[in-house]
Structure formats: C-alpha cells, structure tokens
Amino acid sequence: MQILSSEWLERMVIKSSASPKARITNLFVILQDWLNAPGIRDQLTSASPDRHNEVDGLLFSLVSDAKLEEPEKLAFQLYFILLGAINEEIRNPGSNTMEHARAAAASLVAASTPSRIKKPRAFAVAATAMVGVIAGSLLLPISTTSKHVVPVMQQQELQTHNIVPVALSPDRVVALYRMHDKIRTAQCSYPQALMLSADKRAVFLEGVVNIDQMKVTSSDLDQVSQLYQMVDCYYPPAAMLL
C-alpha cells in the first residue's frame, strides 16, 4: 500500500497529536478521510501489500515512539488490520470498516502499553488517547473533598455518587452525571473527540473526564453538556480498564 509510505500521511499523523499513542489510532481516522476524499476511491482497485516490507516505516515508527511492548508484533498486527480494512472499504464503501479497525487498534495498543503507564493519571492519559482518558476517569473515585465546584444533585443521585451539595442547577448536573455513568457502562457514542480544539479539550478534561474534580463554572456547563453529547463509547471493554 503506497499510501503507508507517503510523506503526506506521515505529516498528517504527526500533526494530528503530540501523543505517540494517539497518533496510532488517529492514523485510521486520517485514512478514512483520505478514502472519502473526492476521486480517491475511483483510483483504488484494491490495497495490496508491497514487495518491500511496509511494516518498517510509518507503523513501526509510530509504535516505537509510543514505547509500546513488542513493537514489531504490534506493527504487524496494525498492518494486517489496515490492509484488511482498506480492502473492505474499497469493496463495500460506507461499511464503517475503518472505525472498527480503529477500535481494534485501540485494543491492541492498550494491551501493548507497559504496566507502569497503565496507572490512572487522568491528565497524562488524556494527552495520549481519549479512549484511555475516559477509561482512566472510571477508576477515579468521586471526590467529596474537591476544593472547587462540586455539583448539587437530586437526593437519590446524590446518595449514589456521594457528592456534597453546593450551588449549581441540580437538574443540569444530574444530567451530566447520568451521562458520565452511561459512559462508564459503554453505552454512549464517541466520535472525533481527539480532534477537539485546545480550549474545548480543557473543558472536556475537567467537565467530562474528571467530573469528580470538576472545576468548571456554571457558564461552562453548556459546553460540557455539548461535549458529553459528542462522546461515543464504542470501543472494547478492555480499554475502559486502563
């Protein structure tokens, strides 16, 4: 697949994130966009492995930069998934194959992450992969001692989440916590959060990922609510355990 050797692709992948791990899954998003670009599908008849070893090069480089375990094995696994996904996309356009491939890649990356990195560090994980970010937040206890704004909730939700009441609209905050619980049980939708702008990302990290340590003000709640709507937990359960 010549595309894997292209400088354009490498540039786009590097530009997509500062996080080496995120770049791996971003690769699939970029390739989906590439396939959807006008005229591309007409030029493609199939994706064939090249005579040269295509695993060396971009894939191995991404895996090595991310300091993942058994990089050669992982690079090959990602290569197989990419090769199969592109061929299926060519055969059956609109089959959403690349998204499934991205999810598979995320699982493989998660499994290849060395143990010492797996401890939940919300901001560090959030910087690398949104999937890992959301999963990491699940392990954080709901804090009752936050120095910042702690939401008011209706009595029964309050008991569930063990939250000390303060002053914010209860209905809105209850809705947020319901969304958070839905994320935890992987019932939500989650597209393109990786592509958030820097200012939205900060609100997302505080209001969505670290809801128990939420520092956002009531004026940010609208934005937090909108960001929650973007969340799609369509990824394998193992990633939730990071």
Binding site: T45, P49, Q77, Y79, I81, L82, N96, A238
Partner: protein, 188 residues
C-alpha cells in the same frame, strides 16, 4: 451424467483459477484440462463469467461447510470456537487444495466495481463478516458486529500479507491479535 459433467467442469475450472489465476485461464485451457468440447462447457455455463461466478459461490459454500464442521469439532463451546478460529483458517490455507478465501483473489483480479464478479466478491466478503458476527454473537460478545468486522479484516489482512511474505511468525501475530480482540469483546 449431466450433473457429473457440470461438477467436473467446476472442479477443473476451480483448480485452474486457483493455480494460474482467473484472468490467466482461458476457456480453451479449461476444456482441454477437463477433456470436453467447448460446446459442452457452454451447455452448462452461458459464459466464462457465469462459470467464474459459479466457482466462487461453490468454493465459498465448501469453505463455510468445512469451517463450520472444523469449528464444531474443535469445541462445542462458542467462546472456544472463536479462539480456535484462526487455527482453523490457517489449516484451511495450508491445505494445498484450498488456498485462500475465494472472494479475496476474485476481487483483486476484477477490481471494476461494475463487474458482476467484483460485486459477488463484495457480497461474499459481507457473508464472511456475517458468519464471524454470528460466531461472536453465540459466544456472547458485547458488540458482535464490531468483533465480526474486526476479525474479518484481521484475517483478510493477514492472508494477503502472508501470501506475499510467507512468514509463519507474522501469521502467529495475527492469531494473537484475534485472540486478544475476542477476549476484549467478551470481557464484562
């Protein structure tokens, strides 16, 4: 007799397509190898394209029958069936008479989207995915369609790569990936 002749033509054509390629195998070669007259071939199949479509459909059916029997033999447990899927696929590939998934070669040789053969290949690929999705569903996968899709693209990519590079180590990598994706999908 008529049915035997039809089967004979299908078997001969299938073997020639497998070893020489579909486009590289002309009707003259098929009839020569089969030991029949061209007229006999056209009595059973209106065109070479019809023959190709029939061969693909027939080989796909054989593949699923073999795979189903093989998986059932491996274990009645749906989860263990999924775990043994890759081993079974590898066994199929290693059989010198089988070699490859029928739709893969055909879609490579007939890339034009308006080709009936290409369209059948696309349909057979969907069928393969549906088969894997059913296995995933029986095993209790949380998102069987997703796992079915992931396994099908992994298998296809591994086969395409292995056909070129012939490296048993890398095929083992694909097997490990399949087991991991299955385990991930089945975990609560």
């Amino acid at each position: 007799m008529k049915r035997d002749t039809r089967e004979h033509i299908l078997t001969t054509a299938s073997e020639l397509f497998r070893t020489r390629g579909i486009n590289a195998t002309g009707v003259d070669t098929i009839v020569t190898e089969a030991g029949i007259a061209k007229m006999t071939l056209y009595k059973h199949f209106h065109s070479k394209e019809d023959l190709i479509l029939e061969v693909l459909t027939s080989r796909s059916r054989e593949f699923y029958e073999w795979l189903t029997a093989r998986l059932n033999k491996a274990s009645p447990n749906p989860t263990q069936k999924l775990d043994s899927l890759f081993d079974c696929i590898e066994e199929w590939l290693e059989n010198p008479e089988c070699k490859g998934l029928p739709f893969l070669k055909a879609s490579a040789e007939f890339p034009q989207h308006d080709s009936a053969i290409n369209q059948l290949s696309a349909s057979l690929a969907k069928e393969f995915r549906a088969y894997l999705t059913t296995l995933a569903h029986e095993a209790g996968a949380k998102h069987p369609e997703s796992l079915g899709q992931q396994l099908s693209i992994l298998i296809e990519g591994a086969i395409l790569s292995e056909q070129l590079n012939r490296n048993p180590v890398t095929f083992g990598y694909a097997r490990e990936a399949a087991i991991l994706l299955t385990k991930t999908s089945l975990s609560k």
